[in-house]
Symmetry: C2
Subunit: 213 residues, 2 copies
């Protein structure tokens, strides 16, 4: 069973020639290999179809810089936030830490977004933030969430048009579990979605099941 695009020796040789001498015509490649253009036709077709080479009329073949698996990563690099985001769960900045914890359990999410009276994003609360607060000495019923939340401009957010892979990179880099998906308004940013490591994990499962086109 052929699972991957495996190139034969001649195809690899052609790739090397085009890398070194491209753009180069089919005839010139054939000359270098002491073969006829007709003999090379299937190999050139395969290399072009598979995306290793590209051809322009009256210019010749050139190397696209892509390896077999780069063609696969191209697919991942086209997937956008809007197709994989979840609904956001928000609390007002005046609610208590205790109420935020209760909301987190009721809604079964790991991150809450905090908004002001204009529904504008002002903060983010993670399970870690709430756990830290809960072992402190303060009374959870009396501290408002805006005391313990991460606040603007330290919030990492994304837009629905952004690439999922950029979000995945931000989640790793900032060591956070979720990003708000926002829309710019005249007051600031409105929260329109949530994207989490769970969404990313589901995406990998969907890719493995060949459910993403």
């Amino acid at each position: 069973m052929v699972n991957d695009i495996e190139l034969n020796k001649r195809q690899k040789h052609i790739l090397e020639i085009v890398k070194d001498h491209g753009p180069i015509t089919g005839e010139a490649i054939a000359d270098q290999l002491n073969l006829t253009r007709a003999t090379l036709r299937p190999d050139l077709a395969i290399l072009t179809m598979a995306g290793f080479l590209d051809a322009r009329p009256r210019v010749g073949y050139f190397y696209t810089g892509k390896t077999g698996s780069q063609l696969l990563s191209d697919k991942i690099n086209k997937i956008r936030v809007e197709d994989h985001q979840s609904l956001p769960v928000v609390v007002n900045e005046s609610v208590s830490v205790y109420d935020a914890i209760v909301t987190m359990f009721l809604e079964d999410v790991g991150t809450l977004f905090v908004v002001d009276e204009h529904s504008t994003l002002v903060g983010v609360l993670s399970r870690k933030d709430l756990l830290r607060a809960s072992i402190g000495k303060q009374e959870l019923n009396t501290i408002p969430v805006n005391i313990i939340m991460t606040r603007m401009p330290n919030i990492t957010f994304c837009l629905k048009e952004d690439l999922i892979i950029d979000v995945a990179n931000k989640l790793i880099e900032k060591q956070i579990d979720a990003l708000p998906v926002v829309k710019k308004t005249n007051k600031g940013y409105e929260v329109v979605g949530r994207i989490t490591k769970t969404n990313i994990t589901k995406l990998l499962v969907a890719l493995s099941n060949d459910e993403i086109m």
Copy 2:
């Protein structure tokens, strides 16, 4: 720029013929299309190289059931836990909930594994478990973690030889953030690793950067 393997009309026609009549020889395919075997050679080569068709000597071509994107899913479906796991963080079953929370912060993990005196896995503690306990009425310094942990046999675990995608499916299905990677011993299971949604997110980033072979 050709980013994906795009089939032309004749190649799609060949695929249909092989789906319906395979295994079928190149000559028989050529007959159905009123073309010569030589004319079809590049198309059959492309379809075979790209993994859509497979060929067996003296049998002919048959359909592998794979689409272009199935080649990506094939790649994902070969990746194993051992290449992407993290180090586990364990606590003894006799430590207090308070000490477990402190360990979670010091080690900066979202899940702790609980072991007995033989280093055998007996429980799992998530941030959610600890947060739930922390808003209860009990004194966190006096409750041992074995009162609040998820315990065997309710722990979902995996082996280092398991496929990452099976772990990803379990994380989604069980709505958990991490699994212990275990090794069977004569006492039960020893914890040898940890695999989380963060590991899965990093894997997607690595796939998108073409870092996984």
